[in-house]
Amino acid sequence: MKAPGRPSIPASFWGIPIPGPVALASGTCGFGIELAEMNLLDDVAFVFSKAVTPEPRDGNEPPRIYDTGMGLLNSIGLANPGIEKVLSDVLPRAASIGRPLVINVAGATVEEFARTVSALEASGVHAGYEVNVSCPNVEAGGMAFGVDPSEVGRVTRAVRRETDRPFAVKLTPNGGDMVRAAQEAEAAGADAVTVCNTFLGMKIDWRTGTPVFRRGVAGYSSPALLPLVVAGVWQVSSAVGIPVIASGGVREASDVLELLSAGASLVQVGTGVLRRPSLPSEIAAGLRELLCED
């Protein structure tokens, strides 16, 4: 969509006016309700919700979080109340957050992705979807789809059939060819791709010889991964015509400008918001300063 080059601050995304390029990443802001209560959504372009699956999921056994000091490992496992409760309890409350909401959806089969989206169509609260074919923390589904470009195409087509709302496909950096996956998503009708979900990481307690997490591997996020995400956004944005949403490693305004330079049309912040709920506003201030002095 956007050629890499000097960054310009987008005024809209998917036709919706936005106050700046920063969006909240899935799984690190709930449905935006907590931040809305704190009046911290002013500088947020879009809210990407926690993943929703057809049935309620308890999520993985504890522990689910480990901060190595240099990055965060998480093994949440798509804990969520399921479509029914989301429709009856969560979305009505999210209706008042005042920012466009994108629902992140996941499933164990192509049919489950389609069913989730189809059921959520009953709500008028959200602006679109983010199709999560890249969750590293569940056995079936999740990343298994993302690493196979043709599976990405199948899921995308199935979702496209269910909705006219715009949706993004969230890619995985964990094996497989992210550029080809993005091209498949585009060909199958996606309105954007998100580059990318967390990286497969692992922490082992050498004194016992056992991994900290029950599933062994977990999803890893860190500001030190930014160069990997910049490379991914650059490669994908050079290969597709749909907008690229950057996700990963953002900590400050210059990171956002670098990702826009790499070809992103929107930039998500995740782990950084867990630590600083006011990060989007801090970044907005930083952007004003950098673009002014420049």
């Binding site: 690190t28 907590e34 704190m38 689910r64 480990y66 000091g69 965060l72 867990l274 630590r275």
Partner: protein, 252 residues
């Protein structure tokens, strides 16, 4: 629950080691001091730099509303607590709070049972309950200076109080003499205490649970506590203080 939370850039008023590896921080955070209740906690940012990437949860150990200060008492166990212990008066530390549900403070007689650093929050709790009997189990005499005066003590190495575990102190306890029981410490210790208590006391026992925390304000899903109703409760949002019978102790 966390709608009223604030993110204050708190001034360090006092920072010192009170015992080997145990640090005390007093921070000026008037907004949080005005709102926080015993059993609630704050997320402290160990460094203004990029690393570590998450904050660290600490229970309020004390709160002086008129001075606008809150205090924390903690074991230095890793990178985050080590950085926090290195703060100097005059530095600033980002403080997110108050977070979670604290103790349900009802009138009557209180029994407080601590394991190790679990006693950190008791001074604040006692200031609101108007007192109570404190039982504490420690590994050694390290840290006994942090216990409220008059605490009954058991140490594993016998260097202070009776030799043994905190559960050994429970044998003399008449549970019916207390209207509320607060328990805070390592999970296995809390489990042992709850199992040692008569079934009839379970609904009067409040336990303060621990869990690794990604956010502390309810959005990351990182702090599950096994629920007696199946599935999980959220430590940071539904807790950290729970009624003992809400927890599935089998899975703790």
């Amino acid at each position: 629950m966390n709608g009223g939370m604030m993110d204050e850039s708190a001034l360090v008023m006092e920072s010192r080691f009170v015992d080997d590896g145990i640090a005390r921080l007093v921070l000026e955070a008037p907004g949080i001091a005005a709102e926080c209740r015993p059993g609630q906690f704050a997320m402290l940012e160990p460094s203004p730099g990029a690393f570590p990437v998450t904050r660290r949860p600490l229970t309020f150990s004390g709160c002086d509303r008129s001075a606008g200060t809150v205090s924390f008492l903690f074991d230095v166990v890793g990178k985050g607590t080590s950085l926090l212990s290195e703060a100097s008066p005059g530095d600033r530390i980002r403080l997110l709070g108050p977070l979670g549900r604290g103790y349900d403070i009802t009138p009557g007689r209180w029994l407080l049972i601590a394991g190790g650093m679990g006693a950190a929050g008791f001074p604040f709790l006692l200031s609101r309950t108007g007192g109570g009997l404190v039982l504490a189990g420690m590994r050694s005499s390290r840290g006994i200076g942090c216990l409220p005066a008059g605490s009954r003590l058991a140490t594993e190495d016998g260097s202070a109080g009776v030799r043994g575990l905190v559960t050994d102190l429970l044998v003399d306890i008449d549970w019916d003499a207390f209207d509320s029981v607060a328990v805070c410490g390592p999970a296995p210790m809390m489990k042992a205490v709850v199992l040692a208590a008569p079934r009839s006391a379970a609904h009067r026992i409040q336990v303060s649970m621990e869990s690794g925390m990604g956010c502390g304000w309810g959005v990351c899903g990182g702090c599950p506590v096994p629920s007696s109703g199946g599935g999980y409760l959220s430590c940071c949002r539904d807790g950290p203080v729970f009624r003992a019978d809400c927890i599935d102790w089998e899975r703790v």
